[in-house]
Amino acid sequence: MSRELLPSFPLRAARVHEACGPAATTFAVITAARTPGNILWIYEGWLPATLHPPALVAFFDPARLLLARAGSQADSLAVAEEALKDGAVGLVVIEVANALDLREGRRLQLAARAGGGTGLCLIPEGMGSNAAETRWRVAPVPGEGDSTLMRWEIIKNKLGTTGTWHVRWDEQAHRLHVVSPAGEQPGSAGLPD
């Protein structure tokens, strides 16, 4: 199982993590699939892209998902803090459009510690907060005959080392497979960033 192979995944509970990159949504959805309990997804109302629930079925039951449409980033952070502190939901996903400062990141971190839920901020590239427990850069990778291959790179880790893995989501078994770069077509392991 992937648990041993990926040292920092599933994400440490009661902490707030960050994910960026083009496939950050997939990362959040896979995290949600591996987290028990309800999921609160906080997004800002003005963003055009929405989650498409028929696609979520391959990961988890959309009935576990609650959405919160916030008017601004201040609202969405307040909602996230409230939900994390309460601990009634297992995972809080926050779509962040602007950079978080240290104070905001720290508040989320404290709230998560108080409530016991996991937080995950989907941040634009390079806009992370220093308070984050781990930060992941997630990008899809072209794969031969495989349409779910991704490169997960952990670029910040408070309790551990960084690293890069190629992973694949198995829709039938609902689990994550780590693919060895050797099994890939030539060149894919050393893809340019």
Binding site: P22, A23, T25, T26, V29, G37, N38, L40, G45, P48, A49, T50, L51, H52, P53, P54, A55, L56, V57, D61, P62, A63, R64, L65, L66, L67, A68, R69, A70, G71, D75, A78, V79, E82, A83, D86, G87, A88, V89, A139, P140, V141, P142, S147, T148, M150
Partner: protein, 475 residues
């Protein structure tokens, strides 16, 4: 108690008008007078007259449109007002009240004194009132409408019997003008000619047939208040007062098997200003220990000024909440915690902005799901497996590509992308029975494009209106 000019009295109470006044209701195609004041009646107008005719009679007639709903509400208010005289008050028709004063009249010093009090109070309130007193409901109605409060029933005309106009005319033609005449006439021929209605009304008036008064049920009122002997200003004190109010309110809710959905807490300050804290709950609730923490945030924002000396708590929206057995099976405690969380988040961003997805029966990607407020829906697990769908859906973004074959190279969001693999097409036809602006361009052929750069996009081509668009992203 009959209010012959209830509707015009109601309007004139709000804005007194000196002169002829009438309320006009639209019947069919004609505007007809619905209710007039005394001056208008003196000018020769009568109820049911056309407005144009009335203007010809009385050029300076002031008219307003009639609102029967407001009149009905006013009558309901009057019903509550009439409870001052006796506890059994019912509504009689559109403009009357019926009071069962048995055993209550002596409290007012006898029937005559009671009627005088009613007249005085109605006159002070600007209401035209006609009273009738009788041993039966029918007799009281007859005296109120066609006579004086203590006129003998036999001397009243037959129109006082609550009969329709045709029957009254026929009776008068037969020479039966008074109730006394009718009561003395043989019953069998009357029943044969006019049906049972006439005899029923006669018997009701004479007391041979029972006609009870049904007082309208008092709707339960979910409001409690607390007056403090010393003004308070601390949050803890306000919370303690709220806790006490909540206990009383929840007991009321419990008795009615109801749960509050929206609560309003009004705090009256010493300087007569008042502030409100509104709480909208994600589920009907009547447990004080769960509602109280939800008030904390709203109360913390209240400006107490020189202190708060009166607090009022009202459940403005109440839903039925039957008692549930607890303790057996899985206790739905996490459900309660979740609804509390929804309530708290809803207090911040609006309860309708906490949403969930529900499946919808449509092949159109944008309509294959519904976003509904979580507080007013239950989670549903009826998601069917569908062909591969993108995780992210956005409004279609056009790309400059021609031809019907999937593009090998294209620009999207300022990125140059090379297709590595194209899967498709999947043709989706518009739902012609629904007008949708976005689907005017006809059928769509959806392709899944895996690019060499990694991005996996959901493109569609509109063959009837050539063009390529990106609508979603898979990973």
């Amino acid at each position: 108690m009959w209010f012959p000019r209830l509707a015009s009295n109601r309007v004139l109470r709000a804005c007194p008008i000196d002169g002829a006044f009438a309320l006009v209701a639209r019947q069919g195609n004609a505007e007809r007078l619905h209710c007039l004041n005394a001056q208008a009646e003196r000018a020769g107008l009568h109820r049911g007259m056309g407005l144009a005719d009335a203007r010809a009679f009385c050029p300076d007639l002031i008219s307003r449109p009639a609102t029967p709903e407001a009149d009905a509400r006013f009558l309901a208010t009057l019903r509550r007002w009439a409870i001052r005289w006796c506890p059994w008050v019912g509504i009689e028709g559109a403009d009357g009240l019926v009071l069962d004063v048995t055993g209550a009249a002596h409290l007012w010093g006898g029937e005559a004194a009671m009627l005088a009090d009613m007249r005085a109070r109605a006159a002070r309130a600007g209401l035209d009132l006609r009273l009738g007193l009788g041993a039966t409901r029918g007799a009281a109605w007859a005296r109120a409408h066609c006579g004086t409060p203590d006129q003998p029933l036999d001397s009243l005309p037959v129109t006082a019997l609550r009969l329709d106009g045709d029957t009254c005319t026929a009776l008068e033609r037969m020479g039966l003008r008074r109730i006394g005449d009718l009561a003395g006439a043989p019953r069998a021929p009357l029943a044969r000619r006019f049906g049972p209605e006439l005899l029923l009304r006669l018997d009701q008036a004479l007391g041979r047939q029972d006609e009870p008064i049904t007082p309208a049920p008092e709707p339960p009122h979910y409001g409690v208040r607390l007056t403090l002997s010393e003004p308070v200003g601390l949050l803890a004190d306000a919370m303690a007062a709220t806790e006490r109010l909540l206990g009383a309110l929840c007991a009321k809710l419990q008795a009615q098997n109801a749960g509050a959905r929206r609560l309003v807490l009004t705090l009256f300050r010493v300087d007569r200003a008042s502030q409100q804290v509104e709480l909208r709950l994600a589920a009907p609730l009547r447990a004080p220990e769960r509602i109280l923490p939800l008030f904390e945030r709203g109360l913390a924002e209240v400006d107490a000024g020189f202190g708060i000396d009166q607090i009022r708590l009202e459940a403005t929206l109440v839903e039925p909440l039957p008692a549930q057995q607890t303790g057996l099976g899985a206790t739905p405690q996490h459900v309660d915690r979740l609804t509390d969380l929804i309530t708290r988040i809803g207090a911040r961003i609006g309860l309708e902005n906490v949403q969930r997805f529900l499946p919808a029966d449509s092949h159109i990607p944008e309509r294959s799901f519904l976003i509904v407020p979580a507080a007013y829906s239950a989670p549903e697990s009826g998601w069917r497996g569908s062909p591969p769908r993108p995780l992210r859906l956005f409004p279609p973004e056009p790309i400059t590509v021609t031809g019907s074959a999937p593009p090998a190279r294209f620009h999207w969001r300022r990125m140059e992308l090379h297709a590595a693999r194209a899967t498709g097409p999947e043709r989706i036809a518009p739902e012609w029975w629904l007008a949708d602006e976005g689907w005017r361009s006809g059928v769509r052929d959806y392709w899944r494009i895996d690019t060499r750069q990694g991005r996996r996009l959901w493109l569609f081509h509109t063959p009837q209106n050539p063009g390529w668009y990106v609508q979603g992203e898979f990973a």
